[in-house]
């Protein structure tokens, strides 16, 4: 079952892409794509990319070189879209919080530069293990570097929101949770692929990658298609006891 070109292997490669394509269609119909245009582009591009790669993998006349060249090119374009998606999520997080928008922009730029340096350093020290076909190693190292940056930025988004006790927009939260999960897993999996530690068992990582991606597409479907539960009250009052304490403190201040 856990073999390349098994039924499960085909399903895990194509299933999430079909679901992702369907999700993109529903988002378009409901007009949600206008709220998250880059994420929408990510869904569309990801589905097209994976269908193309799948076709190149299964057709008997496809060359290995052409597959890895297409894989590499797709990873570059997808990497650029992922940066735009991170920017989009950050924009949603800071949209109604101008007080920390400038600080947030500076911090994310700084964190981005730091993880970029780490990714470059990691790439420089990653050995080229697939010498007969250099394009495989090149693609693996590119993906490792790309996911080091993505994972670092996703982690920063969650830490930033948690530190300032910011509440995510319901849909943005779902997108960030899915992306954060899949990027962390991909970072580990592509690193293992690039280092060649699994030798001829590296196809097992395909199952981990596609399985995790499937879970993430389901997370997106849930958060983007199931409406948020509406709170019973539109606003929460300051707790009365707290306000009394607060008032007492202020009165004490005024009397001094």
């Amino acid at each position: 079952m856990l073999q390349p070109h098994s039924l499960l292997w085909h399903y895990l490669w194509l299933g999430p892409q079909v679901l992702q394509g369907a999700l993109a269609v529903v988002l378009w119909r409901r007009g949600i794509h206008k709220l998250f245009p880059f994420f929408f582009a990510y869904l569309i591009f990801g589905a097209i990319e994976q269908f193309t790669l799948y076709a190149m993998d299964v057709v008997p006349f496809g060359s290995v070189d052409a597959f890895w060249e297409a894989f590499f090119a797709g990873a570059i374009i997808e990497g650029a879209i992922k940066f735009a998606v991170i920017g989009e999520l950050f924009f949603h997080l800071l949209q109604s919080r101008p007080a920390i928008a400038k600080l947030g922009s500076r911090l994310i730029s700084g964190v981005g530069a730091a993880v970029l340096l780490l990714a470059v350093a990691a790439a420089a020290y990653t050995p080229v293990v697939h010498r007969p076909l250099i394009s495989i190693s090149r693609a693996y190292i590119l993906l490792q570097s790309s996911y080091v940056i993505d994972c670092g930025l996703a982690l920063f988004l969650f830490l930033f929101a948690a530190h300032f006790k910011l509440t995510w927009n319901y849909r943005a939260f779902g997108i960030a949770l899915g992306l954060g999960t899949v990027w962390c897993e991909h970072m580990a999996a592509w690193t293992l692929s690039a280092s060649g530690v699994l030798h001829n068992k590296s196809y097992l990582l395909d199952f981990v990658n596609t399985g995790t991606y499937h879970v993430c597409v389901l997370i997106w479907c849930y958060f983007l298609l199931v409406p948020e539960k509406v709170a019973t009250t539109s606003a929460v009052s300051l707790p009365e006891n707290n306000l009394d304490i607060w008032n007492r403190e202020l009165e004490r201040l005024l009397q001094q």
Partner: protein
């Protein structure tokens, strides 16, 4: 191989942190739906101002031996850190209160809420920076810094919270006046 282990460990840690923070966020939203936000700890602003007063530090520096001064300064810095931490936590609670009140249909409440959220976020930011500087000063007790901005911001935040409290529940404001008359 070592590099791969480091990156994989970092990825697992990052995933753990993200999932934990996502769960906390989810629980927080659930609690807020039930009308529960955190509680605010009272802060003695004057005592805090006294702690951050550079003139007091200067006086202590002149009066005490260097070793004694370092000891006293570190004690004061630890107390300062406790205050600033409490201020930051209060600011975080007020961010949530303000953001929940933002959904109100009343434009006055919405405006007061936005003001409260902005002030609370700025205070949280200042508290973070002040804490970093306090910990730096703990290592180098002779370094000087001013945490007065935190105190100023805290007073301003108090005003914003009072305004929102009054708009949301005018009875509280009446009681405040009554207790003052007493």
């Amino acid at each position: 191989m070592i590099l791969a282990i480091v990156i994989v460990t970092a990825a697992i840690l990052a995933l753990g942190i993200i999932l934990r923070l996502a769960t906390i966020q989810h629980l927080q939203v659930s609690r807020e739906r039930a009308g529960q936000v955190g509680s605010i700890r009272p802060i003695d602003i004057e005592a805090f101002r006294n702690l951050v007063d550079s003139a007091e530090d200067e006086y202590l520096r002149r009066r005490l031996s260097p070793a004694k001064f370092r000891e006293v300064r570190r004690t004061r810095l630890r107390a300062m850190a406790a205050y600033v931490h409490a201020v930051g936590e209060n600011a975080a609670v007020l961010v949530r209160v303000g953001e929940l009140a933002l959904a109100s249909g009343d434009p006055h409440i919405a405006e007061a809420s936005q003001q409260l959220v902005n002030d609370a976020l700025l205070l949280r930011r200042n508290a973070t920076v002040a804490l970093a500087r306090i910990y730096f000063a703990l290592a180098w007790p002779y370094s000087s810094f001013a945490a007065v901005r935190v105190a100023d911001r805290y007073e301003r935040l108090s005003g914003s919270a009072m305004l929102l409290g009054r708009l949301q529940n005018p009875a509280i404001a009446v009681r405040l006046s009554a207790s003052r008359a007493r």
